[in-house]
């Protein structure tokens, strides 16, 4: 099988400096993500997952090492990388439609075409009927749907998702995992998905990269080749869950 490399991290490290002390957060990450792969970065809280994702996004620069997307070095934010955030980061003064079409508006797409394209992604995430609603009137799950549609609408090469369901209640979280899998099945993209929830990781991932605690480095990789959609209580699911959880970095 011919695998195209889409994202390449080349010994990426990040040190945060405060006064005179350096604080290692990301250490020597070598990572390759393939076209249309659903890659999950799995690690404990505060281990440096957001930092690593921000570096891939171009929102933060690595202290050393380089990131390439489609063979081009990442030197800043850009619309070929879509981000879905951990916190709700919708523009509160824009409606669902306004948020979703923001990127293509900035890209100069005309109003008629823009509306059509934004509507397609609003429908894709199941928010028809809420086009003119402001974020404050949407539930947590619906807000993240807008966030996903907004990132999808600029049709990026890669989607970077930082614990997008972390703030949702358990019920909504399961629902959103199923929906995301369906969306991804229909609109294939290269996805890097960050989570600290093993069920979520196993349900969604083609490959799970387990991270060490701070400074984060790659501990182990698991290729997950279970057929989709997966059962949270399937035999292999439960086996892998135990295996990966047992192999997590327990140091604090």
């Amino acid at each position: 099988m011919n695998k195209d490399v889409v994202i390449k991290c080349d010994s990426v490290s990040k040190i945060f400096y405060s006064s005179d002390k350096g604080f290692d957060v990301v250490k020597n990450i070598d990572l390759t993500v393939f076209k249309n792969e659903f890659l999950v970065l799995f690690g404990p809280g505060q281990c440096g997952k957001t930092t690593l994702l921000n570096i891939i996004a171009g929102l933060d620069m690595p202290t050393s090492g380089k990131v390439y997307v489609n063979n081009k070095e990442v030197i800043g934010p850009g619309p070929e990388r879509g981000v879905v955030y951990q916190s709700i980061s919708l523009f509160p003064w824009l409606t669902t439609m306004g948020n979703v079409e923001f990127g293509i508006k900035a890209a100069g797409v005309g109003k008629k075409e823009r509306r059509k394209r934004a509507q397609y992604y609003i429908d894709l995430v199941g928010l028809q009927g809420f086009e003119n609603t402001y974020p404050i009137k949407l539930s947590g799950g619906m807000k993240q749907r807008v966030g996903i549609a907004r990132a999808y609408c600029i049709e990026p090469v890669v989607m970077l998702m930082d614990e997008p369901f972390g703030a949702l209640d358990a019920q909504t979280r399961y629902l959103m995992q199923k929906e995301l899998e369906i969306i991804w099945g229909r609109e294939k993209r290269t996805v890097v998905f960050v989570t600290n929830n093993i069920e979520e990781a196993l349900f969604l991932a083609d490959r799970i990269v387990v991270l060490n605690n701070c400074p984060t480095s790659i501990r182990q990789e698991y290729v997950i080749d279970m057929p989709r959609p997966r059962e949270y209580t399937g035999e292999k699911f439960l086996y892998l869950r135990k295996e990966i959880t047992g192999n997590m970095d327990k140091t604090l």
Binding site: Y85, S89, F91, A106
Partner: protein
């Protein structure tokens, strides 16, 4: 539920009528043929004079004419001060260069109460309208600039990052992220600024004018006309209240996105 809410509103209005009524009654008794009555007109006399002043001239105009004079001074200077304040404030809050250039001057002007400029304004602009516009402008401008500045500085960096990831360039980020997120701050400033402008026009007219709400009060004092002074004060209060209600209405419309209610 529904009935309950109507009942509560009804009770509120009812108790307001009772307490205002009681106040008017006490006032009437206290001033009717007493020593206090020589210092203070009774409510009936005052209210009937107030009504009469809407169709008979005090000086050159009716009370409505005087109010409109003051209002037009406020609205012109407030609008100019508001527009410049919003632009300058948000620009200083977002563009480091704008802050470096303008902030030192602004910080020098900001702590000076606008009324303190009146004498200087008279020397610069004479006794006419420009002097009044200038002082009201300063009142509105310094408050609004400060709020717009604070609003632009408080913009959520995650939203800036999100806009950049969606391909927005600097000028678009200013227009469509920094500016709208400063709007609630700007409105807080506009609220304070409209009251301050209204207070300032009265002060400016008291110093020198031949019409307007401030003139009404000063002229009443010079003529030893208690009722005219009181009418002026009441009119100023009513207009101040109306201005603030209108401002709240505009805010509710423009900041609908920040309100969770229906």
């Amino acid at each position: 539920m529904m009935n309950n809410r109507y009942l509560r509103v009804f009770l509120k209005i009812f108790s307001a009528i009772i307490s205002i009524g009681a106040f008017l009654l006490i006032w009437h008794i206290a001033t009717n043929g007493t020593k206090l009555g020589e210092l203070m007109p009774g409510p009936i006399e005052l209210i009937s004079s107030l009504i009469k002043s809407t169709y008979t001239n005090i000086g050159k105009y009716t009370i409505i004419g005087h109010i409109l004079f003051s209002l037009s001074r406020v609205l012109i200077a407030f609008t100019v001060g508001g527009v410049i304040g919003i632009l300058l404030g948000t620009a200083m809050g977002w563009y480091k260069t704008a802050e470096a250039i303008f902030r030192p001057f602004y910080e020098m002007i900001r702590p000076i109460p606008p009324i303190a400029w009146i004498s200087l304004a008279i020397l610069w602009f004479g006794l006419g309208e420009i002097m009044k516009y200038f002082v009201i402008f300063l009142a509105a401008f310094s408050i609004i600039t400060y709020n717009a500045f604070a609003g632009a500085q408080a913009v959520d960096p995650v939203l800036i990052g999100a806009a950049k990831m969606l391909g927005a360039k600097d000028s678009r980020i200013f227009r469509s992220i920094v500016f709208p997120s400063a709007v609630p701050y700007i409105f807080a400033g506009l609220h304070t600024a409209i009251s301050a402008s209204w207070a300032t026009v009265v002060a400016a007219e008291m110093v020198r004018a031949s019409e307007g709400a401030g003139w009404l009060i000063i002229q009443g004092m010079e003529m030893n006309n208690m009722i005219q002074i009181l009418i002026g004060i009441i009119a100023i209060g009513i207009v101040g209240l109306l201005l603030s209600i209108i401002m709240r209405g505009v805010e509710a419309k423009l900041c609908a996105w920040s309100k969770s209610g229906k």
